[in-house]
């Protein structure tokens, strides 16, 4: 996993609440068996007409937001389906983080496994960032995970909190599975006490 330390990038705001993962990546693109290549399908139904033609009115496709890597969105971002493809699509498109006042649990969990940041700020702070992204040309924001800070170099400054261990993994790009396997002894001991139920054993005749 790619470590996340300090990231400075162009910010774009999506002023909607309850953005569900069906919008982030519609179901017709979930049939691929790879982890990559989902960026082109990000917000597909909002960005493209029914014939697949790109609609440049959608905020992500406005010329001034090209190359944006930080998305600012309304509360309850990532609700609905558990599809990790949503994180893969955002990440593949070039985003490194989403800033919102709240996130759905599974989306937030999936993000941490992909070196992708979900940054929780207050509603007021999110509103300020959204306003700035709309009004200031080439607006850039810095997300500093080492100091748990978001700042814009123009007076905006906010602290955020994050589970200490999740932060540690993100900062160091640690592989979750390898960390769990450090507890091999405890897992094996648990399994010795809780054997696979007989009903699940293969039928032998």
């Amino acid at each position: 996993m790619k470590p996340f330390g300090v990231h400075r990038g162009r910010a774009v705001s999506l002023d909607r609440i309850n953005v569900d993962t069906d919008q982030i990546i519609p179901k017709q693109f979930l049939k691929r068996i790879e982890r990559t290549g989902f960026g082109q399908f990000l917000f597909y139904d909002w960005r493209r007409a029914a014939d697949g033609k790109q609609d440049e009115k959608f905020v992500l496709d406005e010329p001034r937001y090209q190359g944006a890597s930080i998305l600012i969105a309304g509360r309850n971002f990532g609700c609905g389906s558990s599809r990790e493809h949503a994180v893969w699509a955002l990440s593949d498109f070039g985003f490194r983080a989403v800033i919102s006042s709240s996130f759905a649990d599974i989306f937030a969990n999936n993000s941490t496994k992909n070196g992708f940041l979900t940054v929780r700020l207050t509603e007021e702070e999110v509103a300020t960032l959204m306003r700035n992204a709309g009004q200031i040309d080439k607006y850039e924001v810095t997300i500093d995970l080492e100091r748990n800070e978001v700042r814009d170099g123009q007076g905006f400054f906010a602290k955020f909190t994050m589970d200490a261990f999740v932060r540690h993994c993100l900062l160091n790009g640690l592989d979750d599975i390898a960390l769990t396997l450090r507890h091999e002894g405890e897992i094996a001991a648990y399994e010795a006490q809780h054997p696979v139920p007989q009903a699940l054993q293969p039928v032998t005749s």
Partner: protein, 467 residues
């Protein structure tokens, strides 16, 4: 005096394998359900890292999300979908995982077959790469949806590091009236607390109305927990649970001992929750969603809201929703005409759902402008329904009778709405484009869906003319 514990706390405590000082607790997972859409990248990850499936016997797979509901044996024309199914078949073979494949008499939606095979049991931890895994909590298990990275993690370790969720009790006093179903209870709750009302929480549903629900009803209720943002939903196991599970194929062989343990699971008197919500069953009625998330809900006798009547923070999203749905504020719900009906999904495709819908449909005929389909949740549900003659009732009434799968709940297979089509659906999400680009979804109970099919618009089933 021993500590008073909730059902959730009891299951949590018995599954903590390790509690690292610097990390979330590591939980053991008793049952891992797998399907074709969220697993291929996880199996790939195992191969890349040279890892194995740690507990293949605790891992059970089926195909449900993208498969067609045409008669089995019809070739799959969507080649990308076919490739995804082939990948699951190959992965299960390579790693020794039990698969209920397309041609299996036990195939079905993963959240329908887990319970009906008796794989889902009280006191278990259950995960699946699907948000509606919360369904299994109906048995008094801790069941939650995970993403593909966590699927890989469970395949490799049979464990998950999890931050401990908070607890919420939703206590429902009284009994649901005739015509008011578990689906209406779920929609009523989400309408009240919102689609993020339970974020970070595990809900335990309790009270007389919940106790009176069948297992099918409890599954419908727990299924929709995720639509309120919850990690999981649970109902304490009781005689209804045990009666359902007894003699199921994968039910415990040492039945007496298992039941004895299950009886210890319900929340202790005096145990506390982080949050408690009280509801009155008498206040509930058949509901219909009018917007683009499951919290946008109104009584069937009600109206689409006037935007001005809402809190300022909700106005913008309501306007967007009404625009998408093609509805005017103030319109009577019963005046909303429909084009399509979908009876199915992991929320409402079990035998009891089909019986209830068939009772409404019997002797009536689907309105001439409506196309209606019934998609049983599993091959077992389909067989039982056919034994009871439900298929003939539906077919005589003009419904299509299909093969089992997720179908038009998420439209990954060919069952989708056309742009602008309006659908009465027994599924769980009315998000934009969920059932097909530009499609307009109204969530309802199976009875309400069947009645809407007949009338061509929503109608209050409490006044239904049964034939």
């Amino acid at each position: 005096m021993p500590e008073k514990k909730t059902l959730f706390q009891k299951i949590w405590d018995t599954h903590v394998v390790a509690q690292p000082s610097d990390r979330s607790p590591i939980l053991y997972i008793d049952l891992h359900l797998v399907h074709e859409v969220t697993s291929p990248q996880a199996f790939d990850g195992l191969r890349v890292a040279g890892r194995n499936v740690r507990q293949p016997l605790r891992t059970v797979a089926t195909v449900d999300h993208n498969i067609p509901t045409e008669p089995r044996g019809t070739p799959i024309t969507d080649l990308i979908a076919a490739r995804q199914i082939a990948a699951l078949q190959a992965n299960c073979k390579e790693f020794g995982v039990r698969l209920f494949d397309m041609d299996s008499p036990d195939q079905g939606i993963v959240h329908v077959i887990g319970p009906e095979l008796g794989l889902t049991q009280p006191g278990m931890t259950i995960v699946c790469g699907d948000s509606h895994t919360s369904t299994h909590g109906a048995f008094g298990s801790l069941a939650f949806g995970i993403g593909t990275s966590e699927v890989e993690h469970v395949l490799a370790t049979q464990c998950l590091a999890q931050q401990k969720p908070r607890t919420m009790k939703i206590h429902v006093r009284g009994r649901l009236a005739d015509g008011v179903t578990a689906k209406d209870l779920a929609l009523g709750i989400i309408g009240q607390i919102g689609t993020d009302g339970a974020t970070g929480h595990v809900i335990e549903y309790a009270g007389e109305a919940v106790r009176a629900l069948s297992m099918e009803g409890r599954m419908t209720l727990c299924n929709m927990s995720i639509e309120a943002g919850a990690r999981a939903g649970m109902v304490a196991p009781d005689e209804t649970t045990f009666a359902y599970l007894k003699k199921k194929r994968f039910a415990p062989r040492d039945w007496g001992q298992a039941v004895e343990y299950w009886r210890t699971l319900p929340t202790d008197d005096g145990a506390t929750f982080d949050k408690v919500i009280e509801m009155d069953a008498a206040q509930l009625c058949p509901f219909v969603t009018w917007g683009t998330n499951p919290g946008m809900v109104a009584p069937v006798t009600g109206r689409v809201p006037e935007v001005q009547s809402l809190a300022e923070t909700d106005r913008h999203s309501t306007e967007l929703a009404l625009q998408y749905m093609g509805l005017e504020p103030g319109k009577r719900i019963e005046d909303i005409g429909i084009d399509r009906v979908f009876i199915g999904s992991c929320t409402n495709s079990r035998i009891e759902d089909l019986r209830a819908a068939a009772r409404i449909a019997k002797g009536h005929h689907v309105n001439g402008k409506v196309r209606a389909m019934v998609v049983p949740g599993s091959q077992t549900v389909k067989r039982v329904a056919e034994q009871e003659g439900l298929d003939q009732i539906f077919i005589d009434a003009g419904f299509e009778w299909r093969e089992s799968g997720c179908s038009m709940c998420l439209g990954m297979n060919p069952d989708i709405l056309q742009p602008g089509e309006r659908c009465a659906s027994t599924s769980n999400r009315n998000f934009e484009g969920r059932q097909g680009r530009g499609g307009r979804t109204h969530l309802v109970s199976p009875q309400m869906a069947a009645a809407a099919a007949v009338m061509g618009h929503f109608t209050d089933i409490r006044n239904w003319r049964y034939q």
